[in-house]
């Protein structure tokens, strides 16, 4: 290698490291052209995020909200967590974007342009809760490997698109189909073109639900690039990794999809409960499907001080994966007593629900307000960490905020 070019490469490479950005296909960038990411390395500007969002990892991008930022009933882009497994490609051309349906259990291979999808099939809009399977991972002991999400890897935006079911019916699906797996345009961290950063999916019954969409709009606009522009599979209520971004191919499988992050211990928990820190064999790990019941106090921000005698109004959201939240309670005495508070019905299935309460405090002092949701099968959030698992998934322990009455 030419020494001078090597030095230049190293300078540019280290510049991108410092800027925290990644230029995929940088060899194709025209001479003298400064890519957007270099001109504007600030992720808050690049992804139009609120300054309060927390960057956990800049390569790949992993950014979460804080509880009080999620107060809106419909999460706007600026407060939506970003969980990327690979690098966002720089070369997205929506006008030439295609979606191919293939796989052992597809009756034919068929390719659609975005225009085909929009014109051939009816469009639907739903509010869908997307929560990262690893939301809350930071609390597990012993610690679990991966991005250390606290509470903010959840959102409920409005998604518009066509039903995956309608597209699969148009293609034709064989009787032996059991799973769909997506493939997408993102690039592996090692830049190995033979590797996919992530290729997950869902069993046929989930794929065929009314609310499982091939979406091209989020909150009424083109999907932001970080959330899968121009096409995203959206399957609310399941780990958000099922909702593949930048999707360009969906395979109908006669086996459980075996793409990247479907196997090993990725997005899997022990089939039977284990002690914290136990080693679990791959064959004893089961794929996560519906996310568990959970809730978040989004108002006020933790740390509020109020005058004695004043009521505290709280509000927040609750969700329960495939199920509905049927009961909502709060406690100001660490769970010794619980008070029921009203919980709204979901706007549609798989949308989060809203609760609110007005709280009186008996005397001065330090309090914590704990919130606890119960799903339609009577299962509640635990106050302590739920079952330990090697990758730290499914922490749905009660959220709480600190309050001082003075």
């Amino acid at each position: 290698m030419n020494r001078r070019n090597f030095v230049k490469g190293a300078v540019l490479g280290s510049a991108t490291t410092i800027l925290g950005t990644d230029i995929v296909f940088s060899a194709l960038i025209p001479k003298g052209y400064q890519p957007l990411l270099l001109q504007d390395p600030d992720p808050f500007k690049m992804f139009n995020l609120d300054k309060g969002m927390v960057v956990l990892n800049n390569k790949p991008w992993n950014i979460e909200a804080k509880a009080h930022l999620l107060d809106d009933k419909i999460t706007p882009n600026k407060y939506m967590f970003i969980r990327n497994n690979g690098l966002i490609t720089e070369t997205i051309d929506a006008s030439n974007w295609t979606l191919t349906i293939d796989g052992e259990s597809a009756k034919q291979q068929k390719t659609y342009t975005l225009a085909d999808l929009k014109s051939k099939f009816s469009q639907y809009t739903y509010q869908l809760t997307l929560e990262c399977g690893g939301n809350g991972r930071s609390e597990f002991d012993p610690p679990a490997k991966g991005n250390q999400w606290t509470v903010g890897a959840v959102s409920c935006a409005t998604w518009t698109g066509v039903r995956l079911r309608d597209v699969l019916e148009d293609v034709g699906v064989k009787d032996d189909a059991i799973y769909v797996g997506y493939h997408a345009a993102d690039v592996h961290l090692s830049r190995d073109p033979g590797k996919e950063p992530i290729s997950r999916g869902a069993p046929m019954p989930k794929a065929l639900q009314d609310e499982t969409l091939l979406a091209f709009k989020m909150n009424g606009e083109d999907i932001p690039i970080a959330h899968g522009y121009p096409l995203r599979l959206v399957a609310g209520g399941w780990p958000a990794s099922v909702s593949g971004k930048w999707v360009n191919r969906i395979s109908v499988r006669n086996i459980v999809h075996d793409g990247t992050k479907m196997t090993g211990n990725a997005y899997r928990v022990p089939c039977n409960p284990v002690a914290p820190g136990d080693k679990v064999k791959d064959e004893d790990m089961c794929i996560i499907e519906s996310m568990p019941v959970k809730s978040l106090i989004t108002y006020p921000k933790s740390g509020a001080t109020i005058k004695q005698g004043k009521q505290l109004n709280i509000r927040g959201h609750a969700w329960a994966g495939e199920l509905e939240v049927s009961n909502m309670e709060y406690s100001i005495d660490f769970g010794a007593t619980w008070n029921v508070c009203p919980i709204e019905k979901p706007v549609n299935r798989l949308a989060w629900q809203h609760f609110s309460a007005s709280i009186d405090f008996p005397k001065k002092g330090y309090y914590e307000v704990w919130a606890r949701a119960t799903d339609s099968r009577g299962v509640s959030q635990p106050m302590l960490l739920p079952g330990w698992n090697p990758k730290g998934y499914l922490n749905n322990a009660c959220h709480r905020i600190a309050i001082k009455v003075g």
Partner: protein, 161 residues
């Protein structure tokens, strides 16, 4: 007389040939000397990366290795024995932040390295593996958190509404 003219003509031809050979030799010598100085002929190349790329970021060598309050500024890593090996081997694919967030014991850091080697194209770390693992276990060991931690770092504010 004719022979003399013939001889003079031949001598002229030989002189010209010697001169040509000499010039060719000088030219070759010149090229060789230039190649010694610039073996890749970079002076003739015009397809070098544009200067703008370099101007984007003024990284001087000092900032590259700068350490402040025990932290390697560029990556955020704790400055300790093994830092260089960790920076060189662990920040090519993912950011340093992914390492810093995580806390594991020796066995699990090694298992993580194996997983990256088996599935993520990480290379064989050779003798550096022990240095890297020692660095990680020393600086990023597991912390005891129990079944639920107390709320910490609360930013108190007066709520008005």
């Amino acid at each position: 007389m004719e022979d003399y003219e013939k001889l003079a003509k031949s001598a002229k031809q030989i002189r010209r040939m010697v001169l040509t050979i000499f010039l060719v030799f000088i030219a070759i010598a010149g090229i060789l000397v230039y190649l010694l100085i610039d073996p890749t002929l970079s002076a003739f190349k015009s397809n070098e990366p544009a200067q703008e790329y370099i101007k984007v970021q003024d990284v001087d060598e000092e900032d590259f290795d700068k350490i402040e309050n025990g932290i390697h500024v560029r990556t955020g890593f704790i400055a300790a024995q093994g830092l260089t090996e960790v920076v060189n081997n662990c920040t090519n694919c993912h950011s340093s932040q992914l390492v810093i967030q995580n806390r594991m014991n020796r066995e699990r850091w090694i298992a993580t390295i194996r997983w990256m080697q088996e599935t993520q194209n990480l290379w064989d770390l050779g003798n550096n593996e022990e240095i890297i693992v020692n660095y990680l276990v020393t600086n990023y060991p597991p912390l005891k958190m129990g079944r639920r931690e107390a709320l910490t770092n609360i930013e108190w504010y007066e709520l008005r509404d």
